[in-house]
Amino acid sequence: MKLWQKIFLLTLTLVIIVVNASSLALLTNNHHLAIEREQQNALARHNYLDLELRSSIIFTQLMERKMHLTEDDTQRVASSVLERQQDDPSMRISLYQVFPTGQQSAEGDIVYLRLPVLIMSVNQGSNASTTNLLYEPDFSSVIEEVGGMTYLYIVSTVLLSDQHFRLITSFDISTTYELFRVDFNQVRFIGVISALIVSGMLLLLVRGLLSPLRNLSGTTRLIASGDLEKRAKVKGNDEVAAVARSLNTMADSIESNVKSLEELAESRRVFISNLAHEMKTPLTSILGFADILRVKRDVSDEERVEYASVIVSETKRLQELSGKLMELLFVGNLQTTPTTVEVHEFASELASVLKPIVTSHSLDLVIELPDEPLYIKIDKELMKSFVFNLVNNSIKASSPGDVIRFIIEPTNLSIQASLDNAGEDLEARGDTATNTPLVDQTFVGQMEFVKITVVDEGIGIPADEIPLIVEPFYMLDKARTRKHGGAGLGLALCAEIAQAHNSELVIKSVQGRGTAVSVLLSREEGDG
């Protein structure tokens, strides 16, 4: 069941119950009051009759100058009084002579010596079964329904000239009950009508109040189905608006996540397409020459050597490519294992490898180191590969006689502490008013770094291409790079290695003058 249906049904049920119960209570109360009024009325008339009976007896006693009237006289006087009441049909009267013992039964009923004798009944009509009321206590009122009519009975004992009589009057109160029944039906009818009206209004109200929720769920469905730029409308300040705001926040973060994933996928796609191209070039030579060797009828020794050596060198190129790829994968995927290294040791290990390579290209390698010992925390193998790749790039860019310099130096930088965090703080505080001044968030201080730089005097890089050269497979001069067996992965690898050390490449270059590539590593305290 939907929420609006639940709210609607529950509220409707509650309203119907409360309205009907209260109107019913009111109705019943009115009815009781009406009956009470009837009772008082009846009692008054009963008492009046009672009084008239007694006064007639006394009057007769006075007239006839008797202290005591006989049974017959008493009955005659009483009958004459009652006969006068025949004009008023609203009151029915029965008068019995009774012979009380003055005792009561265990149930509280009056006990008589012998059966009561009906003296007179007025307006009684067909139904005269009032004998059962003879045993009721004095002035009790009894309501009885007889043949669709409701009667109110009043019973009292009258002492007339020392004789006991029982006077029973009854009044027709059917109209009161009829009125109650009519009222009751009316209330039921009004109840149904008002329930209909209330349910209609309630329906509109509930649907209206819940409509923002419906819009919200529509928006959510749209976002879920991929329309990530969709946002919910935030109206007012109620709970629904709060949900809408959180939904929008969620959508924002999803959108940015998806975007960054898409960018990642795109860069992967570019990488793979470049990789395929880089693989196809050597493969073309290999397949072509291998096919020629296979199908050609006469291949001279000279040709065979030429073709085979191309196949070998191109195969080596593929090998180098796959090696570089493995390295990239290694740096990207595996946890580095940093150790604290002293830079002089590190440099001398590298120098023994680099020197012969550099000199074989008729270039000079100059290594500049600080006077005092310096410690850095690095993954040694990765950092060696880093320097090796940079020097290799420099070799490709240089012409014979040039100097390549490999520099390690301490450097102090005044740093606005944790630039990244400060940026995040700014973003996080975005819309909320900033109570604290920004200065409190940034810590300005000196940080000690070790800078590793490789500088050459080669051809340099055009300024607009500097941001591009760290892209995998980006080559400044394809022919020149290829001639040296490169695939355009060296600097991409260096950038990955720098990132693995929580740093980044700094590239400075002047076309025709040379290039300097460096990385900043945090300085460590030496362990002795």
């Binding site: 191209h277 009828r297 191309v310």
Partner: protein, 222 residues
């Protein structure tokens, strides 16, 4: 019958490979390593066909094609980019064909052969020893006597004569002559070869190469 072909390819080894393959096919060639010089070479009109790489320094292959002007020299694009949009672009510009790297030497020669024949740069009459083939009229004579060949036998003969001294695999024959690109049905090739040998007395010169295929040799086996 030989044609002069311009090879525009910046990768030195690939250029050398193409040159070697062209030599086998009996073509002369010249290598050009960048787009700018390619434009002036094509402009000179000395070439019967241009093999044009797309990824070139200075001007890319498409730009070279556009700036070569109205010269009718047929062009075959060579590239590592095998994607459909590039292929369509090259062909729509008016290129004769499009070869995706890496490729086999025989495939290159076959495509060149088709392109040259289509542009009538290829001689209409082929000869091999005492056999004369009129490609236009679909007629073959042996020592002046006409020989009746089925269309497939004729195509097969033409393909062999165009690739003298080159070993051709059954798969290559199937794909170039029959147009099949799958490697079943090699028995068909064998029966047609036997028919050719019988009808044209090629028993000594159309030789079987073990584990490879067949080769039509320029001289009777030594």
């Amino acid at each position: 019958m030989s044609a002069h072909i311009l090879v525009v390819e910046d990768d030195e080894n690939i250029a050398r490979m193409i040159e070697a393959a062209l030599t086998i096919g009996g073509y002369t060639s010249r290598i050009c390593q960048d787009g700018l010089s390619a434009v002036s070479e094509i402009g000179s009109g000395k070439y019967d066909l241009v093999l044009l790489d797309i990824m070139l320094p200075k001007l890319d292959g498409f730009q070279v094609f556009e700036s070569k002007g109205d010269t009718t020299t047929p062009v075959i694009f060579l590239t590592a980019m095998g994607d459909v949009p590039n292929k369509v672009k090259g062909l729509r510009m008016g290129a004769e064909d499009y070869i995706v790297k890496p490729f086999e030497a025989v495939e290159l020669l076959a495509r060149i052969e088709v392109a040259l024949r289509r542009t009538h740069k290829k001689s209409k009459t082929l000869g091999y020893q005492n056999i004369v083939i009129e490609t236009e009229k679909h007629e073959v004579t042996l020592d002046g006597q006409p020989v009746i060949l089925t269309p497939k036998e004729f195509d097969l003969l033409v393909f062999f004569v165009n690739n003298i001294d080159i070993a051709l695999t059954r798969e290559q024959l199937l794909s170039q002559v029959w147009g099949y690109s799958f490697s079943g049905e090699t028995r068909t090739v064998d029966t047609h070869i036997q028919q050719l040998r019988k009808k044209l007395n090629l028993h000594g010169s159309l030789v079987t190469i073990a584990r490879l295929g067949y080769r039509l040799e320029s001289q009777r086996s030594r």
